[in-house]
């Protein structure tokens, strides 16, 4: 997976240009990494919600990659005969990780609802093992953020699923209240 591998900077000029674009995006993500973590901790810090229900957590992040971990649990099994988890929770994982990649690609916290999401299930997830979701914002335009992600169980070369999701950048008027709310939550968390 070119978007997630390190040290494979292109051989041709075009490859290098593409690679630079990725690097630039990575830097932006890296700079706002603390904000991401705080944002995510704010979400997981809530007593309830879909994140907590699924037991998702943030994995250590490096090189601007955003990664979340979805632990295996009997509750999310879709086929009781095989113990394979339901695709729906993979969608939840990839929607979250792509959404966070989109949100952190911006300097300020922004409300970025999902416009659409497509997911391809390429192999069954092995029962009993956690699933890792990784995502990256690959293009940021004034209105739309394009992201791409994969779900795997340790080997990103053999993904369980891949996903592409687009997010809408809402105007600041919509974000206004949320930013205040977020700032207040951060302040109370620091105290």
């Amino acid at each position: 997976m070119i978007f997630f591998s390190q040290g494979t900077a292109g051989r041709s000029f075009m490859d290098r240009v593409v690679w630079m674009l990725f690097l630039k995006i990575r830097v932006v993500i890296l700079e706002s990494l603390e904000v991401t973590k705080q944002f995510f901790e704010m979400l997981v810090g809530q007593k309830d919600g879909h994140f907590q229900a699924l037991g998702m957590s943030v994995r250590p992040v490096d090189h601007g990659k955003l990664s979340l971990l979805l632990p295996y649990s009997d509750r999310i099994v879709g086929n009781p005969e095989t113990g394979v988890v339901h695709g729906g929770c993979l969608t939840a994982l990839l929607d979250t990780v792509c959404g966070l990649a989109a949100a952190t690609a911006l300097d300020k916290l922004s409300l970025c609802p999902t416009i659409d999401l497509r997911i391809d299930y390429m192999s069954s997830a092995r029962p009993g093992e956690a699933i890792i979701g990784e995502a990256e914002a690959i293009r940021i335009t004034p209105s739309v953020i394009f992201t791409q992600g994969i779900a795997h169980q340790g080997d990103p070369e053999n993904p369980v699923a891949r996903c592409s999701a687009n997010f809408l950048r809402m105007g600041s008027s919509v974000v206004g209240d949320m930013q205040e709310h977020f700032d207040a939550l951060l302040q109370s968390a620091e105290q």
């Binding site: 979400l43 809530q46 309830d48 919600g49 879909h50 994140f51 907590q52 229900a53 699924l54 009997d74 509750r75 999310i76 099994v77 879709g78 086929n79 009781p80 005969e81 988890v85 339901h86 695709g87 729906g88 929770c89 969608t91 939840a92 994982l93 929607d95 979250t96 959404g99 409300l111 609802p113 999902t114 416009i115 659409d116 999401l117 497509r118 997911i119 391809d120 299930y121 209240d177 949320m178 709310h181 977020f182």
Partner: protein, 140 residues
């Protein structure tokens, strides 16, 4: 599972099938069958929250509900039930999903020997104003 699917059709109820799928119970999906039409229902739960400040439903909860609805719908209408395996899933979120009762209706666009395509429409207050539309390809 196959026997449960056959039984579901005989009883005109998807309850026993839902009981067998842990993820279906985790989400809290319900199904109502009237005149052969299946309406899926997801009662609001704190565990579906994605954005706590609004509060809005998590996109993953909505998509999980729709994907599951499609699988249950297909299991129910197939002449010889086979466990459908999802190949790909695509969803468009057209309105914000608030933390209220959510409904879904499915339509089998095409069922071939190998593949089935199911379209799903999801709404909250008004069926004419969908909150999301989706489609799933299943391998049979």
């Amino acid at each position: 599972m196959k026997n449960t699917a056959i039984e579901a059709r005989q009883l005109e109820s998807l309850t026993s099938l839902i009981e067998k799928i842990p993820y279906a119970k985790f989400l809290g999906i319900q199904a109502k069958i009237e005149g052969g039409e299946i309406e899926f229902h997801l009662p609001p739960s704190r565990s579906h929250i994605g954005n706590p400040t609004l509060p809005a439903m998590h996109g993953g909860a909505v998509s999980g509900f729709m994907e599951l609805s499609a699988a249950l719908h297909l299991l129910y209408v197939m002449k010889t039930p086979k466990i459908p395996k999802v190949v790909d899933f695509s969803i468009e979120y057209v309105r914000a999903g608030m933390l209220v009762d959510t409904f879904a209706r499915c339509e089998v666009v095409r069922q071939g020997r190998k593949l089935a395509l199911v379209a799903i429409t999801c709404w909250q207050a008004d069926e004419k104003k969908p909150t999301a539309t989706a489609r799933v390809h299943f391998l049979l």
